[in-house]
Symmetry: C2
């Protein structure tokens, strides 16, 4: 639904970082005319050239400070480990009334790194679109990435209601449903629903890689038996995920500890041939699948 006839929520939008998420936002903005100007900054000229070539940036620059000038909305779309440098770099060039938001997968650390540096009259609205693929880079984005997906907004004690409303409307215009959540609670839920699954997928793919070479090749050859789904998850951007684990340590370690206890119990059940224990768990997990389908987080059997 093109928005050109109605008033724009934000006239000028600056994207810092133009990977999978940033480029998907940019494509959607361009497709639906959601802003008059999209300014893109990135660390490499190659990414900027690609952004220009793909046609979703009105201006590009290697200079973050330059890119945020006059922007009404600044969206940080780079790994969460970069935020601290970014805010210190751009803070003197922000427009009065501008909103800074982000797309990071952890929120307490983001607030810790950003909030102390937000200038008077500028508004911080931390956000996290729960969407993605295993691909990365500007070519990987697509305008429909956020369609029917959740975007979680985690206001701080200092976030104004008006700013929350604007960022909410913006994410709805990208096709998302919006949920408001406490930053700490967000990090706990994501530790289980996203961070632990990624950690486990990276681990098992690593375990397979460490087998003797011929065995690893056979694991790959016959990966349709289950392994391939893990390889997809474990193909996600390494820097983004390193930063996630370093910045959501406590919640990830808590969930990982629970998982380790549970798999140790299953290990014992296998060793001692306790079929009932296995069958009971394997039956219980089928219900969760039904829940996921009912929650429309996945089409049935897609």
């Amino acid at each position: 639904m093109p928005n050109k006839t109605s008033a724009l929520i934000f006239e000028r939008i600056a994207l810092i970082g133009i990977g999978l998420i940033g480029s998907s936002i940019a494509r959607r903005i361009k497709r639906d005319g959601l802003a008059n100007h999209v300014s893109v900054s990135a660390r490499s000229q190659q990414s900027l050239d690609k952004a220009l070539e793909l046609g979703f940036a009105d201006s590009v620059t290697l200079d973050q400070k330059e890119s945020v000038k006059n922007a009404d909305l600044i969206i940080i779309c780079s790994p969460v480990g970069t935020y601290s440098n970014i805010i210190q770099n751009i803070k003197s060039n922000l427009k009065l009334g501008a909103i800074i938001t982000d797309v990071g997968s952890v929120k307490q650390a983001v607030i810790r790194d950003l909030e102390p540096h937000i200038p008077e009259g500028v508004h911080l609205v931390p956000a996290h679109p729960v969407a993605g693929t295993e691909r990365s880079g500007p070519e990987a984005g697509f305008a429909e990435l956020f369609e029917d997906r959740w975007c979680i907004i985690t206001p701080t004690s200092q976030t104004e209601k008006k700013s929350i409303k604007q960022v909410t409307e913006f994410w709805k215009s990208l096709g998302s449903n919006v949920e408001i959540m406490e930053p700490k609670h967000h990090d706990l839920v994501m530790a289980m629903t996203s961070h632990l699954p990624h950690l486990i997928a990276y681990t098992i793919v690593g375990t397979a890689t460490d087998l003797e070479k011929s065995l690893t090749n056979e694991v790959i050859k016959f990966s349709a038996g289950g392994f391939r789904d893990f390889t997809r998850i474990a193909a996600s951007d390494p820097t983004m995920w390193r930063d996630v684990f370093l910045n959501n340590r406590d919640a990830v370690l808590e969930m990982l500890q629970r998982f380790s206890e549970d798999i140790t119990a299953l290990q014992r059940a296998i060793r001692w041939g306790e079929g009932d224990t296995l069958h009971e768990l394997f039956s219980r997990t089928q219900e969760v699948r039904r829940g996921v389908i009912e929650a429309k987080q996945e089409k049935m059997y897609d």
Copy 2:
């Protein structure tokens, strides 16, 4: 490619069990005219009624012994824990020259349970099509399930070359590529590529279920972050998978031990903030994904 004009490999085929795999085989046979008669036996009248309704069985019976009479090929398509009873039940009713094969995910245990009971003049050709979905039951099958997937045949010291050739041709007619493998090696490769991924998926979904109810619901709600891929794997048939773990114990425990060591090392890296260790692993696993795509075990980005 309908096969009606050429000589059939097997005139009469008996399927014992008619779940996802059995019904997929039956549909393919019917679609392409790969046999003159498909006889189906199952444990429940409900499954047999469904098989008749769906039109891929020429005759159905609750009596396994009856169903294998005059069959040229008998395919056991039930959980591997049932094989021992099945062979003792049917062995006196097998046609001279008949071939018994199966679709079980473990092979050493299958051979242990079947081979001592195979009558003189009947041939055992253990096989494992590496294909499946998380669905189960006769309705879940489809004729294309084995298309471009591997079927692994694991002959024993007693298996005749002629029988291997016939079963190979049969699986090729279902659309599969065929690989010949030692039973023990098969079980080791599958422990890593299929059994451990399923065990881990079942575990993490169980871990999420054991959280407080409201948190579990949120994990489901936001499962697009990674968790939903595990719920799909963990929705597979509980009885089938219980039997797999009970019957491939040593190989699964070996691979699980390696995985546990690796995740403990990552846990330590997260606790101590060792970003380089994380980044090194997360980069290494991207290559495996490329291998999976090159091995055509998955379309690019599907």
